[in-house]
């Protein structure tokens, strides 16, 4: 873990960065990282797809089934009361993590995709009408495109897209031009999953609010890297997936301002989301339960709490600082490779390097890196309109976590040289 072997500006990583100095110990917390793949030590650089889980998260799931399993809410027995308590405690932890005003503003979902669908279908279909407009950006993941297209199709609203520069930066001037009193929803990502580019989200929200539009922030790629404060952002909705922030799959969060959630109809109906049911009339439960029909992912919520505590314990500012140093080191190193193009080359990024090499398809890069134990992603990253804008069919993407090391980037670099040697 000797930084001296690199050319990186050491000031990027303060002497006192706790992660840098405890990296071996931190890696011990992630059992999967010790694994060999194809006979090589695993170098996991696909963190933007999903992060690995620390042992305390894995244990939380197994402990839940060993000691706590029961259905939550309304149970009068010991286990049900305890499981309910833990599930609601997880909700409070999420509330604190993103600084929501109240735990009732935290709805548990299956993931960011379901969170966006919930907001789009419950709010969008109820309050949008023919001629209204929805603004998204060119950077969006399909999950923040398709639900809005569907709302447009059903309501007659129109989808408007904020263009980007060749480097993947949001063109704010063009955004301002799109704003008018017909715009009812502005739904934009905080960090691009395909490029790692950060968007000027504060400014986007501020201007949207000035014209009275509802705002949704896709925080899926931001949540593991940045300190999130939904009150200071001022957004109406904020969504993320648990598995991208070291929690399990199948659990996600929709944050919504209480007054908005109150006036939205349920997204799904059934048990748990009701207060009383007769065949004549059903009275819905209060928020957030109104949006959590059926038995939820109880162990997922509890394990997500453990993941958040783990991240808090490391300290998100230290994480950002360390990951930023990895990112700059990787960009610097990869820039040495002839014919390698990095997409989204801006100073304002989080933990992703998206690239391709002239005349070598990203899928071939991915397969050859895999034979060296290096896991990256190759493809369109569920952002086909962005790929079209960049004029590529796919890119190769290396994405980092605090458990990655500078040596792993050296391995990536060597594996890329091998790729070029083999293919050219």
């Amino acid at each position: 873990m000797k930084l001296e072997t690199t050319n990186i500006d050491k000031s990027l990583l303060k002497e006192k960065n706790k992660i840098y100095h405890n990296i071996d110990k931190i890696r011990e917390d992630f059992p999967i990282l010790k694994q060999k793949v194809r006979g090589k030590t695993l170098v996991y650089l696909d963190n933007a797809a999903t992060t690995q889980k620390p042992k305390i998260v894995i244990d939380a799931i197994s402990n839940y089934y060993l000691t706590l399993n029961s259905n939550i809410h309304r149970g009068v027995h010991f286990l049900s009361e305890k499981a309910t308590f833990e599930y609601e405690k997880a909700r409070t932890k999420v509330k604190e993590f993103i600084n929501a005003l109240s735990a009732s503003e935290i709805v548990f979902t299956r993931g960011a995709t379901e969170s966006i669908n919930l907001a789009a279908f419950s709010y969008g279909l109820t309050y949008l009408k023919d001629g209204d407009e929805i603004i998204i950006s060119t950077l969006e993941h399909h999950a923040n495109i398709v639900p809005w297209q569907e709302v447009c199709r059903r309501t007659g609203a129109k989808l408007k897209v904020i263009p980007i520069s060749n480097n993947g930066e949001i063109l704010l001037e063009k955004y301002y031009e799109l704003l008018n009193n017909k715009v009812k929803i502005v739904a934009v990502t905080q960090v691009s999953n395909a490029l790692g580019v950060k968007t000027p989200i504060d400014e986007i929200i501020k201007k949207a609010k000035e014209i009275g539009a509802i705002t949704l922030v896709d925080g899926s790629q931001a949540i593991p890297h940045l300190k999130i404060d939904v009150q200071s952002l001022g957004c109406d909705f904020y969504v993320f997936s648990g598995h991208k922030v070291y929690g399990p799959t199948g659990i996600g969060v929709l944050y919504g301002k209480a007054d908005l959630l109150e006036k939205m109809p349920p997204y799904q109906t059934g048990g748990d989301m009701i207060r009383s049911v007769t065949f004549e009339k059903t009275i819905y439960n209060d928020i957030p339960m109104k949006f959590e029909a059926g038995t939820p992912n109880i162990e997922g919520a509890i394990a997500l709490q453990k993941a958040i505590e783990y991240v808090e314990n490391l300290n998100i500012e230290e994480i950002s600082e360390y990951e930023d140093a990895l990112l700059r080191y990787c960009e610097e190193k990869l820039s040495d490779i002839p014919d390698l193009i990095i997409y989204g080359r801006t100073p304002c990024k989080a933990a992703v390097v998206s690239f391709d090499i002239k005349d070598i398809h990203p899928h071939d890069i991915g397969t050859i890196l895999d034979s060296e134990g290096v896991a990256i992603r190759a493809g369109h990253h569920c952002a086909q309109p962005l790929m079209q804008r960049l004029g590529v069919s796919a890119t190769a993407r290396a994405s980092f976590s605090f458990y990655n090391t500078f040596e792993e980037i050296d391995i990536l670099y060597q594996a890329l040289l091998k790729t070029i040697k083999l293919m050219k």
């Binding site: 194809r38 398809h361 899928h363 071939d364 034979s371 493809g379 369109h380 293919m423």
Partner: protein
């Protein structure tokens, strides 16, 4: 030979670098477009069939080394074949890239196809190898857009 060099054999790399029959046939009798959403590979296969014989076959598009070389090799093999021979070769190719292990199946000519057997070790790449063949098959079946010669 390692799995990787099995996959990226010389012949495959050569076809990737200089693909054969890489152009568009004007007025084809059969045509289809193939798309692999996993990698964004896009391919167009054009055929000119006269009296049930493939007189001319070509492709265009972009894709990874495996899909491009597979398409290129396919065009060299299918030229001059009858439609039913082409369909038969499609079946054989499919067996080669999915069967396990190779000795379990008997592949006669053309042995050129066998170089794609290495793909079996990389399940995510099977679709890359088969894209051109599926597209060609669809073109023969007229499942995709069939361009009128009129």
């Amino acid at each position: 030979m390692s799995d990787l060099s099995q996959l990226y054999q010389e012949v495959i790399l050569d076809h990737n670098k200089s693909p054969r029959n890489f152009y568009k046939i004007e007025n084809p009798t059969n045509f289809a477009e193939g798309y692999n959403p996993l990698c964004g590979d896009h391919i167009y296969v054009y055929l000119k069939i006269e009296n049930n014989i493939i007189k001319e076959i070509s492709f265009q598009g972009n894709g990874c080394a495996i899909s491009k070389s597979s398409a290129s090799l396919m065009t060299t093999i299918l030229k001059g074949k009858t439609v039913s021979e082409a369909k038969d070769l499609f079946e054989k190719f499919h067996k080669i890239i999915t069967s396990d292990p190779l000795k379990d199946i008997e592949i006669e000519e053309p042995s050129k196809l066998k170089i794609f057997a290495g793909v079996r070790e990389f399940p995510t790449r099977i679709k890359c190898a088969s894209l051109a063949w599926h597209t060609m098959f669809n073109a023969l079946e007229g499942k995709a857009e069939k361009i009128s010669t009129e």
